[in-house]
């Protein structure tokens, strides 16, 4: 099982801070496609992705238990 986190406008779009799903074996790109089919995710192509709190690429493969977070363009500071 995997925990998938949403922040800022993505959380507003999904309506949840996170969802639980089985994403093991999928690439980040594949997970993004799957989520795009399930939710209306504005500007989803501009977000970065983190696996276990480290930025990753779309080609990275998700492992069992990984925590995935979608990181919209940041605006701290």
């Amino acid at each position: 099982m995997n925990k998938v986190l949403f922040f800022a406008h993505l959380r507003d779009a999904v309506g949840e801070d996170f969802i639980k799903m089985d994403a093991a074996g999928k690439t980040v790109a594949q997970l993004k496609e799957l989520l795009k089919e399930q939710y209306d995710l504005p500007r989803f192509d501009t977000v970065m992705t983190a696996i276990n709190e480290e930025f990753c690429s779309d080609d990275d493969v998700i492992q069992e238990g990984d925590e995935i977070a979608f990181i919209p363009p940041v605006s701290g500071g």
């Binding site: 986190l5 922040f7 800022a8 406008h9 507003d12 500007r43 501009t46 970065m48 992705t49 983190a50 709190e53 480290e54 930025f55 990753c56 690429s57 779309d58 977070a69 990181i71 919209p72 363009p73 940041v74 605006s75 701290g76 500071g77």
Partner: protein
């Protein structure tokens, strides 16, 4: 704990105290505050949120990057989250270095890096609506899907 996300108002002196060093010749303190007017639009208040555990890790990374670039530097950063009013302190960066020039440079480096890759977001609330800010960064391309250190050096 030199790198923190805080739900409470930031104790500025407390951040400065973390970088006091007998070999330091300078402590540079940057205080980021909530501005009322952005692009002609009046902000009523802001909500900051963070992916807290990752944000702390990324702040720690910035600290390591600074120590690699400016020898002898000590760094402390606290970023606030939650509802902030106009003029409230959103972020405090303290850097001590043996000589003053490096403390200015490292402080600037830290805030630019925060704005680039630390997972913190602000939602601006106006009289006629609200929006998560971040879209303005769409002109910043991340070809590899993530921000790179070298982007800052250009």
């Amino acid at each position: 704990m030199n790198f923190e996300i805080s739900k409470e108002p930031i104790n500025i002196q407390g951040v400065i105290d973390k970088v006091v060093d007998r070999d330091a010749g300078a402590i540079n303190t940057f205080i980021g505050t909530v501005r009322e007017t952005t692009k002609g639009k009046k902000t009523l208040y802001l909500i900051y949120e963070a992916y807290e555990s990752m944000a702390v890790k990324k702040l720690e990374q910035i600290g390591r990057e600074i120590q690699e670039r400016w020898k002898g530097a000590k760094v402390a950063i606290t970023h606030r989250v939650g509802r902030l009013e106009i003029s409230d302190v959103a972020v405090v960066i303290a850097v001590s270095t043996p000589h003053r020039a490096a403390s200015y440079e490292a402080s600037r480096y830290a805030i630019e890096r925060i704005k680039e890759m630390v997972p913190i977001w602000k939602k601006e609330h106006w009289e006629d609506g609200a929006e998560w800010i971040g879209d303005q960064l769409e002109q910043v391309p991340y070809p590899s899907g993530k921000p790179e250190v070298k982007d800052l050096d250009e």
